[in-house]
Symmetry: D2
Subunit: 329 residues, 4 copies
């Protein structure tokens, strides 16, 4: 077996994660890093012992890892598909459902592989929830609670082009809900506010949100999001089933606990996704490589990206209209 070659497009925060993981993964080879910002590409390439490559050269690799801005994702996916290359693309495929559908058609026609970066499915704890649910340990899932809070809001400039909280942030939780419910939601209700920063509200977005999903058989899911958490990146899930409950919580830097007159204190949660999901990103890449090597279907794929976007669109509409929105996935 010859080692698969990988090109990374985009040398930003998430591109850096993936490039380093590709470089450190013994099963694949990082052929190069591309970015419109040549300096950023150069810096990342050097850190990974790889070279800077042009956009055309990137599509010569066996697999392309797309970490560029959202509005380039669909075009790059299509270009790679037409070149017969496998693609790992950061979420979302696009902010427009129609554009996503068109892109997935191209991929389907090309018969190539496309994985979408819902990294949380590969978090060891969240992944264990799924495995243990499937084992029957808690019987039938009845009610899912997802608590997800960022440490601080992004700049309003980012908010403006993000597609809004539901498509930018909650889309991860919506994918997780689908992953763990084992049944597609049919109804979405969202209540949301701009409580963290009035500028977010002025930009037409929200920063605090509560969503309810219901499936055809009546399973329920509650998701809450906030763009603020003073105690770190808050990422928790709890699954209530007919035979018991499973939950997974935050991670801390150390296990140290202090005791004083103020009480017993442990570390805050890990600061943000880079730290919290470090193992998840590695496992995600491994799953992608596994699928390339063994020829099996990829999970999560483009259709998962599409379905989460449909849910995010529905939540956005629900928050704006104060009415539940029916969806058909």
């Amino acid at each position: 077996m010859t080692t698969l070659s990988f090109a990374v497009l985009g040398a930003g925060r998430i591109g850096q994660i993936h490039a380093r993981n590709v470089a450190a993964n013994g099963r694949v080879r990082l052929t190069g890093v591309y970015d419109v910002d040549a300096g950023a590409a150069q810096k990342l390439a050097a850190a990974c012992g790889a070279q800077v490559i042009g956009l055309d050269a990137a599509f010569d690799a066996d697999a392309v890892v797309i970490c560029t801005p959202t509005d380039t994702h669909a075009d790059f996916i299509e270009r790679a598909a037409k070149a017969g290359k496998a693609v790992f693309c950061e979420k979302p495929v696009d902010l427009s459902e129609a554009r996503v559908r068109a892109c997935l058609e191209v991929v389907k026609a090309a018969g190539t592989k496309l994985m979408v970066g819902f990294n949380r499915r590969f978090d060891p704890s969240f992944n264990a929830l799924k495995t243990r649910i499937l084992s029957g340990e808690i019987g039938s899932v009845e009610l899912l609670t997802i608590l997800s809070r960022d440490p601080a809001p992004p700049p309003v400039s980012y908010i403006a082009r993000s597609g809004g909280l539901f498509r930018d942030m909650m889309i991860h939780d919506l994918d997780m809900a689908r992953f763990l419910l084992g049944e597609e939601p049919v109804e979405v209700f969202a209540a949301a506010s701009a409580l963290v920063d009035p500028a977010i509200g002025a930009a037409g977005d929200v920063d605090t949100a509560a969503v309810t999903l219901k499936t055809a058989s009546g399973k329920l899911c509650q998701i809450s999001n906030s763009r603020r958490a003073t105690y770190g990146y808050d990422q928790r899930i709890e699954v209530h089933g007919s035979k018991g409950l499973l939950r997974a919580g935050n991670m801390t830097q150390t296990t140290v606990e202090s005791a004083t007159a103020s009480g017993f204190t442990t570390d805050p949660a890990l600061p943000f996704f880079l730290e919290r999901y470090a193992a998840a990103y590695r496992a995600e890449l491994d799953a992608f490589i596994d699928a390339l090597v063994d020829g099996k279907p990829i999970t999560p794929d483009g259709s998962d990206g599409l379905k989460s976007l449909i849910l995010a669109d529905a939540a956005t509409e629900s928050a704006q209209t104060s009415k539940p929105v029916r969806v058909s996935l």
Copy 2:
């Protein structure tokens, strides 16, 4: 100061709690216990070192503790009010908003005191949440999460006359939401299912529910209820504020933890409300006595009973229509 005399109406499960607490409270005197079931009254009276009394005699006491079936509450409250007596009444005042309003008018006209039994406000941990929110410790409350699960569903015969899950069970959580949000909800959305027992669904009720509340300023609250929890009575609250998070959790019988190849295991949660809220019931009685002694207003009072019922009615309607319901408290 002469010791205040208390009569307890109703010798059922909750009447037993209150009668024993009155008997053990050094500041008041239990004059007697009344129940339509003379044997039950006799048994409870004996256990408390008190006597069985007739219904008329009960209203001779300084204060009447009403623990009889729901459909008698409003009548007994009115009778006590007209006799100039203070009343502690278990929730709800009545299942009909109109009947509650009429009853509260009678109490208002009489100028007597009425406390409604939202015991959870007096749970040491939940009460500490309130105190610490008021201290400003977590800044402005933004998002409240209430998880509340009974260990097992009541008999379907009880369900049928209970007013349904929202009026019977979630009404406690709705009161807690008002208590902790510090602002009245203006919108209620409910999604609910009968997942625990099909017979509950056949009786027209639900056993699993997810409710979202929103206040005028945009604060959000998510409540989840289930009639089933294999691990005990699950009663948890989490308050997310601009400066941090406060949460309060379940209680266990002991602090014992075991460690084996299966992992680290602590006790399940306390079995049900009698155990979990034992301290809350005592503190609730103390608060009632305090108000009688110092002449200050009672909290929670009849209007709190009314407002929680209005929220429960709204949740019931929302679950049936799949539409959010506006409320004005």
Copy 3:
């Protein structure tokens, strides 16, 4: 069955606990409270709805609860025994092994019952350790760890007449070691220092101590004591057995946890023994009453008081000589 009458001798801190528990216990009757300080006796009697009695009258009750200063214990036990009365006596019976032995002879000769106040055996969590060890859940006990710290040292004036840390404070842990090891220690080694307060060292005592016990079959126990703990009354036990570990920990006032940039913080431990062992004192009294009612032997009895004193004497000697001391219980 006629209700047993109880007299309480001593209206200090511990006498108040027992008097209130006797008064609140439905199975016995508090006939009166005695104290050399008539005012203290009067105040406690009033709080319990009982009367002040003289010393002679106290020994007319069916049972005597001795909570007076240590140097009166043995005399009062003997007087009660000779009067055919049951005795509950706070630890220790006496600070002199010889005096304890003489006293127990008198009790033996009288054939009366004597319970010694090792309250911790009745703590619900520590008691559950014992029950679960006996159930075989963790196999054979191999290594016991007892961590026990007072929140702050007593006045040096108290230290001077206390018998020293091992007889005054660690005696509880030594009794607990015997209770949980299920086998008598044969060797005691103690290392100790005065680190908390030099005045304690100047008074000839220590405030920080580490003791090792070894049984004939080789089971080990480590005990640590400190007269200082800024975070409350620290009372923890961990039992390591061939099949697993059992541990029991501190209790807190509430279950509230806060999360901020400083981390996740729970309450400090309950402040001191009155709060921590409130349930234990009630259960202890119940066990004493049970034994009086059913005629069965009492546990812990005078011999338990004697054996713990012998271990405390051995620890004292070991700390002074820096040599392990052999004991034969």
Copy 4:
């Protein structure tokens, strides 16, 4: 700066850890792996993208990582020192104090660097204990508790040549005690038994041990060891100071917790040192490289290896004689 070259001697369990970490560390270069078992060397070299080298070639590298059997350590250290090479050596330097002293003289004469592999000092949680103690957060350290248990005993054949539990296993805890007490022990007392496996006792060793250390100023330390823990590798430390307590605990594979009628259950502890100390081994290598690059003294060095051995020897003697042993470090 030219990249430093490293050679790894020994391709066993611990050699594999170090070789992989060297290979993955961007600041150094793995020149080769040596082992008397050529197959083992080949396999490890291949996994690390390095080559197999002979013993002579190993000493051509800038630094030598010694992971061979204990009886070769001192010879290899001396050979490297004489060749002017830096050495990282797994503990212990040797089981004989005299041999260690002689070896350290050679290193001293050569003026080369020697780091000894007390990996636990680099565990993020235990290291944080040290940092926070030094910050003054808990005032003066008074009492240290170290609980350390292996999941299962090694083969008796290993026991026989291990130097015994104190030199083989507890030496890590003795080093940790020195690290955290901030003051050298002057007295060692050990009580120990063979409770896990009679064959260990027959081989002249123990498998369960309790050690007490005392420093000149009276600080105390209790260490307990067992060769058995059904719930994983148990590694916990608690530091009691004048102003509070700091503790660090076990790590688990995931944060998942289940709740059923049996209670709330989390994962067992990580299985053994490879998993538990993975981050520690990486940090240890980084510290070694830091010292090579910046020319500063190495910690822990050969004298730390010597002092821990002296404490282990003292504990061994104490356990055999049942007497405390004085030491002068």
